[in-house]
């Protein structure tokens, strides 16, 4: 019953976007997002939207997935729009009723902000849709590695992320098993009010935590017995390699960013 939870939202496809180096993808995303905040005209947004559409097409991700990804921020989008419409002042009054009025500036800023949020979410979800969590972690580790000199434990952070991701399915499976075992003893996870339901989760959560700690101990022991001693000098099975395509993508992204800002 817990099995149909998907982790992250990665969609495996064979596309040129998927095959880009994760580091390049992260850098491009950061560049594009930064550029997005410098755009100050709707035509700039239009161009940004167009390039997002092109990337979606190239990545072979169904458009509907990206749109569905916007659902969680719908509330934020609406709130932004409403706040701006009613509270930002300036420009001519479009509509008035008592002390409530909508002014042109408010409507404009509201729409502007909303467009920005939507494009932001679309672009970042493109990154997570086309890059597997493991690749992402590798990319982040690599990009953070210059910070090792100032004491940021980049490899350890990456290892933590990798382990966490690796054990999500395992723990879900474990949870499913414990849940069934307790249900066989008459536990009820599906009825009652919120407080009762929360309390009913104790027979699930306690064994789950215990097993997670036990697993952590076992894993630490297994890693140490295979000589893991932190990220220092560690090599990897799949070295990240920047190819010509990656440079082209980066160059295109740079060009686009400049175009957005001057458009």
């Amino acid at each position: 019953m817990l099995r149909n939870i998907t982790i992250g939202q990665y969609m495996a496809r064979d596309s040129i976007i998927h095959n880009l180096d994760p580091r390049i993808k992260i850098v491009i995303t950061i560049m594009m997002i930064t550029a997005l905040f410098f755009i100050d005209t709707f035509s700039g947004y239009g161009l940004f939207f167009l390039s997002v559409l092109v990337i979606i097409y190239l990545s072979r991700i169904p458009l509907i997935r990206i749109i569905r990804g916007l659902k969680p921020v719908l509330f934020l989008v609406l709130l932004t729009l409403i706040l701006h419409i009613f509270f930002t002042r300036g420009g001519e009054v479009i509509w008035q009723w008592g002390f409530i009025s909508i002014e042109a500036e408010g409507l404009y800023t509201g729409l502007f902000m909303v467009t920005r949020i939507i494009l932001l979410i679309m672009f970042t979800s493109l990154l997570t849709l086309t890059t597997s969590p493991l690749e992402l972690t590798n990319g982040i580790e690599y990009l953070l590695s210059p910070l090792k000199r100032v004491g940021v434990p980049a490899s350890e952070l990456a290892m933590m992320m990798t382990i966490a991701l690796r054990f999500i399915p395992t723990l879900l499976e474990e949870a499913d098993k414990i849940m069934k075992a307790q249900m066989a003893r008459g536990a009820d996870f599906e009825s009652g009010n919120l407080v009762k339901r929360a309390r009913n989760l104790i027979p699930l959560l306690v064994p789950l935590f215990i097993s997670a700690f036990r697993r952590a101990d076992d894993l630490a022991l297994a890693m140490e017995s295979r000589c893991y001693h932190g990220g220092e000098g560690r090599t990897r099975l799949h070295e990240l390699k920047v190819r010509a395509g990656d440079f082209i993508a980066l160059a295109l992204a740079l060009l686009l960013c400049v175009a957005f800002i001057y458009f």
Binding site: K177, A181, M183, A184, R185, D188, P203
Partner: protein
């Protein structure tokens, strides 16, 4: 109590391929049977066992318990779970309460029994598994040894007083002494308490020793369903399915192939010794 499976199939739909875990299973389990359920990993044993107390619903077909079709009834599941106790693999992993008492009492409390009745049942089931009530009731289950933890977990299921007890690999990871105690417990529950027992195990000795009916599964189908002597005489087929034979059967069977005409349907050590020495005396080899 009669358990009946009619044309039961189960497909795990969340896999991309939709693995067919059970294919058209027909099975009747009667009162006071001791069933040994064997099969290699992924043969569908666990799925079958979970179907029996309504933890999962079959994709098609029906599971009928005591005349009630549990695939249709929605509300009756607690009743079913009271009647059919299920001890999962490594049951000690589900312990969660602060005291042994609390953990064993979890099942009876869920049944809505009075506190006095709960206490009676906890005492009874702890003594059944061989743990002293006074000594253990207030201890934390997490400070017990692995073997004791398993006993507590099994007591937690017994406290619901099931008529049918299903155990999934209950002896996995136990030391020889713990295993022997478990076997004695199962014998006691079957002979003295009149329970129906379904034992899932990879240890054929246990099965041959305890069960009076053996069901062999492979690839989601029932391959054999007969008494141990008949099933374990299918030596070649059993091996093909990647399963072991009871050690005694193995020895008798090998002797038989070497030309010593011993019977191979013997499952106790004493009888086997007798059979072999009787044959040896009468043969030319000595």
């Amino acid at each position: 109590m009669l358990i009946e499976l009619k044309n039961v199939s189960h497909i795990y739909a969340d896999d991309f391929q939709g693995t067919e875990a059970l294919k058209n299973i027909n099975l009747k389990i009667r009162d006071h049977e001791f069933i040994g359920l064997v099969g290699h990993t992924g043969s569908g044993k666990s799925t079958l066992v979970q179907l029996l107390n309504g933890l999962i619903k079959p994709s098609s077909g029906s599971v009928i318990i005591d005349g009630v079709n549990i695939t249709e009834e929605k509300t009756g599941l607690l009743g079913i779970r009271r009647k059919i106790g299920l001890v999962f693999q490594y049951p000690e992993h589900q312990l969660f309460e602060e005291t042994v008492f609390g953990d064993v009492a979890f099942g009876p409390r869920n049944l809505g029994l009075s506190e006095e009745e709960v206490e009676v049942r906890v005492r009874e089931s702890l003594e059944l598994v061989g743990l002293d009530y006074e000594e253990f009731k207030d201890r934390s289950p997490f400070n017990l040894s692995g073997g004791q933890q398993r006993k507590v977990a099994i007591a937690g299921v017994l406290a619901m007083k099931p008529e049918v007890l299903i155990l999934d690999e209950p002896s996995a990871g136990l030391d020889p002494q713990g295993r022997q105690q478990l076997i004695s417990l199962l014998e006691y529950l079957y002979n003295k308490k009149g329970m129906t027992i379904i034992l899932v195990s990879h240890r054929m000795e246990e099965i041959a020793h305890l069960a009076n009916r053996v069901i062999v599964m492979s690839e989601g189908e029932i391959i054999f369903d007969d008494n141990p002597a008949k099933v374990f005489s299918e030596v070649e087929r059993i091996r093909e399915l990647g399963l072991d034979l009871p050690e005694i059967t193995e020895i008798l069977w090998r002797l038989n192939r070497k030309g010593l005409k011993v019977r191979t349907d013997i499952f106790s050590l004493a009888e086997a010794v007798e059979e072999i020495s009787r044959e040896l005396r009468g043969s030319e080899i000595c």
